[in-house]
Symmetry: C2
Subunit: 171 residues, 2 copies
DNA sequence: GCCCGTGTTGCAAATAGATTGCAACTAGGT
DNA sequence: ACCTAGTTGCAATCTATTTGCAACACGGGC
Protein backbone atom coordinates (compact mmCIF):
# COMPACT_ATOMS: atom_id res chain seq x y z
CA UNK A 1 0.00 0.00 0.00
CA UNK A 2 1.39 3.31 -1.11
CA UNK A 3 4.61 2.06 -2.62
CA UNK A 4 5.91 5.61 -2.68
CA UNK A 5 6.39 5.67 1.02
CA UNK A 6 9.96 5.39 2.05
CA UNK A 7 12.24 5.72 -0.87
CA UNK A 8 14.12 8.75 0.19
CA UNK A 9 17.68 7.65 0.19
CA UNK A 10 17.15 5.15 -2.54
CA UNK A 11 18.72 6.04 -5.82
CA UNK A 12 15.98 7.31 -8.07
CA UNK A 13 18.13 9.46 -10.29
CA UNK A 14 16.54 10.75 -13.40
CA UNK A 15 13.56 8.44 -13.39
CA UNK A 16 11.25 11.39 -13.45
CA UNK A 17 12.92 12.96 -16.44
CA UNK A 18 11.90 10.24 -18.84
CA UNK A 19 8.32 11.33 -19.31
CA UNK A 20 8.74 15.08 -19.47
CA UNK A 21 7.43 16.31 -22.72
CA UNK A 22 9.78 18.23 -24.96
CA UNK A 23 8.68 21.76 -25.67
CA UNK A 24 11.35 24.08 -26.96
CA UNK A 25 11.32 27.70 -25.84
CA UNK A 26 10.47 30.13 -28.56
CA UNK A 27 12.18 33.43 -27.92
CA UNK A 28 9.96 36.44 -28.57
CA UNK A 29 7.26 35.15 -30.77
CA UNK A 30 4.31 37.49 -30.98
CA UNK A 31 1.53 35.29 -29.70
CA UNK A 32 -0.21 36.50 -26.56
CA UNK A 33 1.41 33.70 -24.60
CA UNK A 34 5.01 34.69 -25.14
CA UNK A 35 7.61 32.37 -23.75
CA UNK A 36 9.73 34.96 -22.02
CA UNK A 37 13.36 34.20 -22.27
CA UNK A 38 15.06 33.45 -19.00
CA UNK A 39 17.05 36.68 -19.06
CA UNK A 40 13.91 38.79 -19.17
CA UNK A 41 12.37 36.73 -16.43
CA UNK A 42 15.38 37.30 -14.22
CA UNK A 43 15.62 40.99 -14.96
CA UNK A 44 11.93 41.39 -14.24
CA UNK A 45 12.55 39.76 -10.88
CA UNK A 46 15.48 42.11 -10.25
CA UNK A 47 17.92 39.27 -10.15
CA UNK A 48 21.27 39.27 -11.85
CA UNK A 49 21.36 37.28 -15.03
CA UNK A 50 23.91 34.54 -14.50
CA UNK A 51 24.69 31.33 -16.29
CA UNK A 52 23.37 28.94 -13.65
CA UNK A 53 20.13 30.88 -13.37
CA UNK A 54 19.42 31.07 -17.05
CA UNK A 55 20.35 27.43 -17.41
CA UNK A 56 17.89 26.41 -14.71
CA UNK A 57 15.08 28.52 -16.10
CA UNK A 58 15.77 27.35 -19.63
CA UNK A 59 15.57 23.76 -18.52
CA UNK A 60 12.32 24.31 -16.67
CA UNK A 61 10.90 26.19 -19.63
CA UNK A 62 11.88 23.42 -22.01
CA UNK A 63 10.56 20.46 -20.06
CA UNK A 64 7.53 20.34 -17.85
CA UNK A 65 7.87 17.47 -15.43
CA UNK A 66 8.76 18.90 -12.05
CA UNK A 67 12.40 18.19 -11.38
CA UNK A 68 14.38 17.68 -8.20
CA UNK A 69 17.42 19.77 -7.40
CA UNK A 70 19.59 16.79 -8.26
CA UNK A 71 17.94 16.35 -11.61
CA UNK A 72 18.25 20.00 -12.45
CA UNK A 73 21.85 19.96 -11.36
CA UNK A 74 22.57 16.93 -13.50
CA UNK A 75 20.88 18.50 -16.51
CA UNK A 76 22.59 21.84 -16.09
CA UNK A 77 25.96 20.22 -15.60
CA UNK A 78 25.38 18.17 -18.72
CA UNK A 79 24.89 21.36 -20.70
CA UNK A 80 28.11 22.17 -22.60
CA UNK A 81 29.32 25.55 -21.37
CA UNK A 82 27.86 25.37 -17.89
CA UNK A 83 28.75 23.64 -14.66
CA UNK A 84 27.71 24.79 -11.26
CA UNK A 85 27.53 23.48 -7.77
CA UNK A 86 24.49 21.72 -6.36
CA UNK A 87 24.43 24.39 -3.69
CA UNK A 88 23.90 26.98 -6.35
CA UNK A 89 20.95 25.05 -7.66
CA UNK A 90 19.45 24.97 -4.19
CA UNK A 91 19.98 28.67 -3.73
CA UNK A 92 18.62 29.59 -7.11
CA UNK A 93 15.55 27.45 -6.67
CA UNK A 94 14.89 28.88 -3.23
CA UNK A 95 15.14 32.39 -4.58
CA UNK A 96 13.00 31.63 -7.60
CA UNK A 97 10.38 30.14 -5.38
CA UNK A 98 10.36 33.13 -3.06
CA UNK A 99 9.84 35.37 -6.05
CA UNK A 100 7.09 33.18 -7.40
CA UNK A 101 8.90 32.21 -10.58
CA UNK A 102 8.59 28.52 -9.87
CA UNK A 103 6.34 26.18 -7.94
CA UNK A 104 7.48 23.50 -5.63
CA UNK A 105 5.79 20.11 -5.79
CA UNK A 106 6.10 17.51 -3.13
CA UNK A 107 5.23 14.00 -4.21
CA UNK A 108 5.76 12.60 -0.78
CA UNK A 109 8.88 10.69 -1.62
CA UNK A 110 11.21 12.98 0.22
CA UNK A 111 12.45 14.90 -2.77
CA UNK A 112 11.10 18.32 -3.54
CA UNK A 113 10.48 19.11 -7.17
CA UNK A 114 10.11 22.35 -9.03
CA UNK A 115 8.41 23.51 -12.18
CA UNK A 116 7.98 26.84 -13.87
CA UNK A 117 4.98 28.76 -12.64
CA UNK A 118 2.61 29.70 -15.41
CA UNK A 119 0.65 32.57 -13.93
CA UNK A 120 -2.69 31.59 -15.39
CA UNK A 121 -2.44 27.85 -15.34
CA UNK A 122 -2.91 26.44 -11.89
CA UNK A 123 -2.75 22.67 -12.11
CA UNK A 124 -1.85 19.49 -10.28
CA UNK A 125 -0.17 16.21 -11.07
CA UNK A 126 -0.85 12.56 -10.95
CA UNK A 127 2.01 10.26 -10.11
CA UNK A 128 2.11 6.57 -10.87
CA UNK A 129 2.53 4.64 -7.65
CA UNK A 130 4.52 2.03 -9.48
CA UNK A 131 6.74 3.54 -12.19
CA UNK A 132 6.57 7.07 -10.78
CA UNK A 133 5.70 8.59 -14.09
CA UNK A 134 4.25 12.07 -13.68
CA UNK A 135 1.49 13.67 -15.71
CA UNK A 136 0.08 17.13 -15.30
CA UNK A 137 -3.68 17.32 -14.84
CA UNK A 138 -5.58 19.88 -16.86
CA UNK A 139 -7.79 21.38 -14.20
CA UNK A 140 -8.09 21.84 -10.49
CA UNK A 141 -11.05 20.42 -8.58
CA UNK A 142 -10.54 22.69 -5.62
CA UNK A 143 -11.67 26.26 -5.38
CA UNK A 144 -11.25 27.96 -2.05
CA UNK A 145 -10.00 31.43 -1.38
CA UNK A 146 -11.32 31.34 2.12
CA UNK A 147 -12.07 28.29 4.16
CA UNK A 148 -14.59 28.43 6.93
CA UNK A 149 -14.49 26.02 9.78
CA UNK A 150 -17.18 25.79 12.40
CA UNK A 151 -15.73 28.62 14.40
CA UNK A 152 -12.69 29.71 12.46
CA UNK A 153 -12.06 31.42 9.21
CA UNK A 154 -8.72 31.04 7.51
CA UNK A 155 -7.81 33.63 4.93
CA UNK A 156 -5.66 33.70 1.86
CA UNK A 157 -5.96 29.98 1.43
CA UNK A 158 -3.82 28.05 -1.00
CA UNK A 159 -3.58 24.33 -1.40
CA UNK A 160 -1.24 21.58 -2.35
CA UNK A 161 -2.80 18.63 -4.09
CA UNK A 162 -1.30 15.56 -5.70
CA UNK A 163 -2.92 12.46 -7.04
CA UNK A 164 -1.42 9.01 -6.96
CA UNK A 165 -2.55 6.05 -9.01
CA UNK A 166 -1.53 3.34 -11.37
CA UNK A 167 -0.78 4.43 -14.88
CA UNK A 168 -2.01 2.35 -17.83
CA UNK A 169 1.35 0.65 -18.27
CA UNK A 170 1.49 -0.50 -14.67
CA UNK A 171 -2.04 -1.73 -14.16
CA UNK B 1 5.55 34.14 0.04
CA UNK B 2 4.83 30.73 1.48
CA UNK B 3 6.60 31.16 4.77
CA UNK B 4 6.54 27.42 5.26
CA UNK B 5 9.20 26.84 2.71
CA UNK B 6 12.52 25.96 4.19
CA UNK B 7 12.28 25.35 7.84
CA UNK B 8 13.46 21.83 7.90
CA UNK B 9 16.39 21.89 10.21
CA UNK B 10 14.96 24.67 12.29
CA UNK B 11 13.79 23.66 15.69
CA UNK B 12 10.04 23.43 15.61
CA UNK B 13 9.64 20.97 18.43
CA UNK B 14 6.19 20.46 19.80
CA UNK B 15 4.61 23.51 18.25
CA UNK B 16 2.07 21.35 16.54
CA UNK B 17 0.97 19.63 19.72
CA UNK B 18 -0.57 22.73 21.24
CA UNK B 19 -3.81 22.67 19.31
CA UNK B 20 -4.57 18.97 19.31
CA UNK B 21 -7.88 18.41 20.90
CA UNK B 22 -8.06 16.11 23.90
CA UNK B 23 -10.27 13.09 23.42
CA UNK B 24 -9.68 10.22 25.80
CA UNK B 25 -9.99 6.67 24.50
CA UNK B 26 -12.91 4.79 25.97
CA UNK B 27 -12.09 1.09 26.12
CA UNK B 28 -14.94 -1.15 25.00
CA UNK B 29 -17.98 1.02 25.22
CA UNK B 30 -20.90 -0.42 23.33
CA UNK B 31 -21.66 2.37 20.88
CA UNK B 32 -21.38 1.44 17.21
CA UNK B 33 -18.27 3.53 16.89
CA UNK B 34 -16.14 1.67 19.39
CA UNK B 35 -12.75 3.13 20.08
CA UNK B 36 -10.80 -0.07 19.72
CA UNK B 37 -8.07 -0.34 22.22
CA UNK B 38 -4.61 -0.36 20.75
CA UNK B 39 -4.03 -4.01 21.69
CA UNK B 40 -6.99 -5.13 19.60
CA UNK B 41 -5.88 -2.96 16.73
CA UNK B 42 -2.45 -4.53 16.80
CA UNK B 43 -3.73 -8.09 17.12
CA UNK B 44 -6.12 -7.48 14.25
CA UNK B 45 -3.14 -6.39 12.18
CA UNK B 46 -1.24 -9.50 13.26
CA UNK B 47 1.41 -7.49 14.97
CA UNK B 48 2.82 -8.28 18.36
CA UNK B 49 1.48 -6.11 21.11
CA UNK B 50 4.43 -4.25 22.55
CA UNK B 51 4.77 -1.27 24.77
CA UNK B 52 6.06 1.19 22.18
CA UNK B 53 3.33 0.21 19.76
CA UNK B 54 0.46 0.54 22.16
CA UNK B 55 1.93 3.78 23.42
CA UNK B 56 2.07 5.22 19.91
CA UNK B 57 -1.44 4.13 19.03
CA UNK B 58 -2.80 5.35 22.35
CA UNK B 59 -1.26 8.73 21.75
CA UNK B 60 -2.66 8.98 18.25
CA UNK B 61 -6.06 7.85 19.49
CA UNK B 62 -6.06 10.42 22.25
CA UNK B 63 -5.01 13.44 20.23
CA UNK B 64 -5.83 14.24 16.66
CA UNK B 65 -3.32 16.67 15.30
CA UNK B 66 -0.94 14.78 13.06
CA UNK B 67 2.35 14.34 14.84
CA UNK B 68 5.90 14.00 13.64
CA UNK B 69 8.07 11.08 14.65
CA UNK B 70 9.93 13.39 17.02
CA UNK B 71 6.76 14.56 18.65
CA UNK B 72 5.48 11.06 19.07
CA UNK B 73 8.81 10.00 20.46
CA UNK B 74 8.83 12.86 22.91
CA UNK B 75 5.30 12.11 24.05
CA UNK B 76 5.90 8.39 24.39
CA UNK B 77 9.12 8.93 26.28
CA UNK B 78 7.32 11.33 28.59
CA UNK B 79 4.87 8.57 29.46
CA UNK B 80 5.82 7.07 32.86
CA UNK B 81 6.57 3.39 32.29
CA UNK B 82 7.70 3.68 28.68
CA UNK B 83 10.81 4.81 26.90
CA UNK B 84 11.85 3.74 23.47
CA UNK B 85 14.23 4.73 20.78
CA UNK B 86 13.35 7.13 18.01
CA UNK B 87 14.25 4.36 15.59
CA UNK B 88 11.50 2.27 17.05
CA UNK B 89 9.04 5.07 16.46
CA UNK B 90 10.11 5.24 12.84
CA UNK B 91 9.79 1.52 12.42
CA UNK B 92 6.44 1.33 14.08
CA UNK B 93 5.04 4.19 12.10
CA UNK B 94 6.30 2.71 8.86
CA UNK B 95 4.69 -0.59 9.66
CA UNK B 96 1.45 0.99 10.79
CA UNK B 97 1.30 2.97 7.61
CA UNK B 98 1.91 -0.08 5.46
CA UNK B 99 -0.93 -1.81 7.23
CA UNK B 100 -3.19 1.17 6.82
CA UNK B 101 -3.58 1.88 10.52
CA UNK B 102 -2.34 5.42 10.18
CA UNK B 103 -2.17 8.12 7.54
CA UNK B 104 0.85 10.16 6.74
CA UNK B 105 0.45 13.88 6.20
CA UNK B 106 3.02 16.06 4.59
CA UNK B 107 2.68 19.74 5.30
CA UNK B 108 5.58 20.62 3.08
CA UNK B 109 7.86 21.67 5.87
CA UNK B 110 10.11 18.66 5.65
CA UNK B 111 8.60 16.77 8.53
CA UNK B 112 6.23 13.91 7.94
CA UNK B 113 3.28 13.65 10.29
CA UNK B 114 0.98 10.81 11.17
CA UNK B 115 -2.54 10.47 12.43
CA UNK B 116 -4.81 7.55 13.11
CA UNK B 117 -6.79 6.45 10.09
CA UNK B 118 -10.49 6.46 10.71
CA UNK B 119 -11.81 4.15 8.05
CA UNK B 120 -14.90 6.16 7.28
CA UNK B 121 -13.67 9.66 7.81
CA UNK B 122 -11.48 10.79 4.96
CA UNK B 123 -10.44 14.39 5.62
CA UNK B 124 -7.76 17.00 5.08
CA UNK B 125 -6.12 19.75 7.07
CA UNK B 126 -5.56 23.42 6.93
CA UNK B 127 -2.31 24.74 8.29
CA UNK B 128 -1.69 28.32 9.32
CA UNK B 129 1.16 29.72 7.29
CA UNK B 130 2.18 31.86 10.20
CA UNK B 131 1.72 30.06 13.52
CA UNK B 132 1.50 26.59 11.98
CA UNK B 133 -1.60 25.67 13.85
CA UNK B 134 -3.37 22.72 12.27
CA UNK B 135 -7.09 22.16 11.98
CA UNK B 136 -8.82 19.20 10.40
CA UNK B 137 -11.36 20.03 7.70
CA UNK B 138 -14.73 18.29 7.83
CA UNK B 139 -15.10 17.22 4.24
CA UNK B 140 -13.14 16.51 1.13
CA UNK B 141 -13.72 18.49 -2.04
CA UNK B 142 -12.13 15.89 -4.27
CA UNK B 143 -13.79 12.77 -5.50
CA UNK B 144 -11.88 10.68 -7.97
CA UNK B 145 -11.48 6.95 -8.00
CA UNK B 146 -10.24 7.04 -11.54
CA UNK B 147 -8.71 9.95 -13.32
CA UNK B 148 -8.86 10.22 -17.07
CA UNK B 149 -6.37 12.22 -18.98
CA UNK B 150 -6.66 12.91 -22.68
CA UNK B 151 -5.14 9.58 -23.59
CA UNK B 152 -4.41 7.92 -20.29
CA UNK B 153 -6.44 6.43 -17.53
CA UNK B 154 -4.93 6.08 -14.09
CA UNK B 155 -6.57 3.59 -11.77
CA UNK B 156 -6.92 3.26 -8.06
CA UNK B 157 -6.38 6.95 -7.55
CA UNK B 158 -5.79 8.45 -4.15
CA UNK B 159 -4.83 11.99 -3.34
CA UNK B 160 -2.96 14.07 -0.89
CA UNK B 161 -4.38 17.50 -0.22
CA UNK B 162 -3.44 20.16 2.27
CA UNK B 163 -4.61 23.71 2.62
CA UNK B 164 -2.51 26.59 3.85
CA UNK B 165 -3.81 29.91 5.04
CA UNK B 166 -3.78 32.46 7.79
CA UNK B 167 -5.72 31.56 10.88
CA UNK B 168 -7.87 34.17 12.63
CA UNK B 169 -5.20 34.88 15.21
CA UNK B 170 -2.55 35.59 12.61
CA UNK B 171 -4.50 37.69 10.15
C1' DG C 1 3.88 -21.98 33.86
C1' DC C 2 8.04 -22.62 30.88
C1' DC C 3 10.33 -22.85 26.24
C1' DC C 4 11.38 -21.34 21.85
C1' DG C 5 11.31 -19.03 17.42
C1' DT C 6 10.20 -15.02 15.12
C1' DG C 7 9.24 -10.53 15.24
C1' DT C 8 10.92 -6.27 17.80
C1' DT C 9 13.91 -3.19 19.82
C1' DG C 10 18.23 -0.46 21.01
C1' DC C 11 22.43 1.40 19.83
C1' DA C 12 25.65 3.10 16.79
C1' DA C 13 26.93 4.12 12.38
C1' DA C 14 25.73 5.37 7.80
C1' DT C 15 22.95 8.04 4.18
C1' DA C 16 21.20 11.71 1.79
C1' DG C 17 19.09 15.97 1.04
C1' DA C 18 19.51 20.52 2.43
C1' DT C 19 21.81 24.53 4.71
C1' DT C 20 25.52 27.60 6.17
C1' DG C 21 30.04 30.26 6.52
C1' DC C 22 33.23 32.42 4.14
C1' DA C 23 36.26 33.83 0.70
C1' DA C 24 36.49 34.53 -4.32
C1' DC C 25 34.10 36.18 -8.20
C1' DT C 26 31.05 38.91 -11.40
C1' DA C 27 27.03 41.41 -13.36
C1' DG C 28 25.76 45.70 -14.31
C1' DG C 29 25.12 50.63 -12.76
C1' DT C 30 28.16 54.85 -12.58
C1' DA D 1 37.31 50.92 -16.37
C1' DC D 2 35.67 50.69 -11.48
C1' DC D 3 33.07 49.35 -7.48
C1' DT D 4 29.92 46.95 -4.87
C1' DA D 5 26.05 44.29 -3.84
C1' DG D 6 24.65 40.11 -5.24
C1' DT D 7 26.34 35.32 -6.57
C1' DT D 8 28.90 31.32 -6.54
C1' DG D 9 32.06 27.32 -5.01
C1' DC D 10 33.84 24.56 -1.55
C1' DA D 11 33.93 22.42 2.65
C1' DA D 12 31.84 21.67 6.72
C1' DT D 13 27.55 20.97 9.13
C1' DC D 14 22.82 19.74 10.15
C1' DT D 15 18.82 16.93 10.47
C1' DA D 16 15.62 13.36 9.28
C1' DT D 17 15.66 8.86 8.21
C1' DT D 18 17.60 4.27 7.37
C1' DT D 19 20.36 0.16 8.20
C1' DG D 20 23.21 -3.63 10.51
C1' DC D 21 23.45 -6.40 14.12
C1' DA D 22 23.11 -8.30 18.52
C1' DA D 23 19.99 -8.52 22.50
C1' DC D 24 15.35 -9.08 23.80
C1' DA D 25 10.34 -10.21 24.45
C1' DC D 26 5.63 -11.62 22.79
C1' DG D 27 2.71 -15.30 22.56
C1' DG D 28 1.80 -20.04 20.58
C1' DG D 29 2.83 -24.75 21.91
C1' DC D 30 3.96 -28.09 25.36
Amino acid sequence: MEALRQNRYKNNETRFMAHAKANSAHPKCESKHVHEDSGDLLRAAKLKVTRPRTAILDLLAAKHGPFTSEEIHAAVTRTPGIACDLVTIYRCLAKFEDLGLINRCDFGDGAVRYELRHKDHHHHHIICRSCRRVEPLPNCPVESETIRLPKLAFKDVTHRLEFFGLCPDCQ
